[in-house]
Symmetry: C2
Subunit: 113 residues, 2 copies
DNA sequence: ATGATGCTTAGCCATGTCGCTAACTATCAT
DNA sequence: ATGATAGTTAGCGACATGGCTAAGCATCAT
């Protein structure tokens, strides 16, 4: 049952951090330099660098260096695996709603005790 | 720009682990006892318990105890915040494709050097 | 009432994460 | 060639994570 999806783990892990999500939000407005990402977050450069490497390993951003300036940009397709997984799960989970309801009744009974 | 979404962090973090995703896959087939989840994963009970509490805190599962048996079941709506966030991002990211392409050209130039 | 069963708690170990500072390298401007 | 600027590397500290064992508690069957 699709037990090993390291890419999904990388992806979800990268998204599971408010700082990284706000970096992505900033990059959604357009490419930015590392320093541009450091200022609004109030974080030091090395800290930002680490977040960027997590995002890059997850495939969520791409970076390139021109002179001494590194520019970061979003990779929109990177979200697809997550989206696909969520859709698949939703499909399966909802098709089991009958059983879920049976469980909910049991749970309610338990809660009432 | 929606900087603080602790629920999203909990959610993505819960999903960022293959063991937890396979527990969810198992639960997608219907509610199960803790022991039922322990056997296929090959993990010890306390380990499974910890994963379950992570999943429960993220709102992804609900559990109830009847006698000495705890039953776990999926909470389908729990995926919605993640799905919504992904959809929003995709919308924004894709609307910036023009800028992205400009960046891609620059990146290609850099890669070639 | 005894033992088996199912879960729970406490606590250990190795490793990973997230922030930092300090020091280094590389580039650009003068 | 000097200094400012942009990024990078190394390494620290506090804490979280993911696995385990051992021991405890509660319930069910006999």
């Amino acid at each position: 049952m699709a037990k090993h999806h390291p890419e999904l783990s990388l992806l979800f892990h990268a998204l599971a951090d408010t700082t990284r999500r706000s970096i992505l939000a900033r990059l959604a407005e357009g490419p930015a330099r590392v320093t541009d990402l450091s200022e609004p977050t109030g974080l030091r450069l090395p800290t930002v660098m680490r977040h960027l490497s997590v995002l890059e390993e997850a495939g969520l951003i791409a970076t390139s260096k021109d002179g001494r300036v590194r520019t970061c940009a979003i990779v929109p397709e990177a979200l697809e695996p997550a989206r696909t997984w969520l859709d698949e799960q939703r499909a399966v989970w909802e098709s089991r709603l009958d059983r879920l309801e049976a469980f909910a009744i049991k749970a309610a009974k338990e809660r009432a005790k």
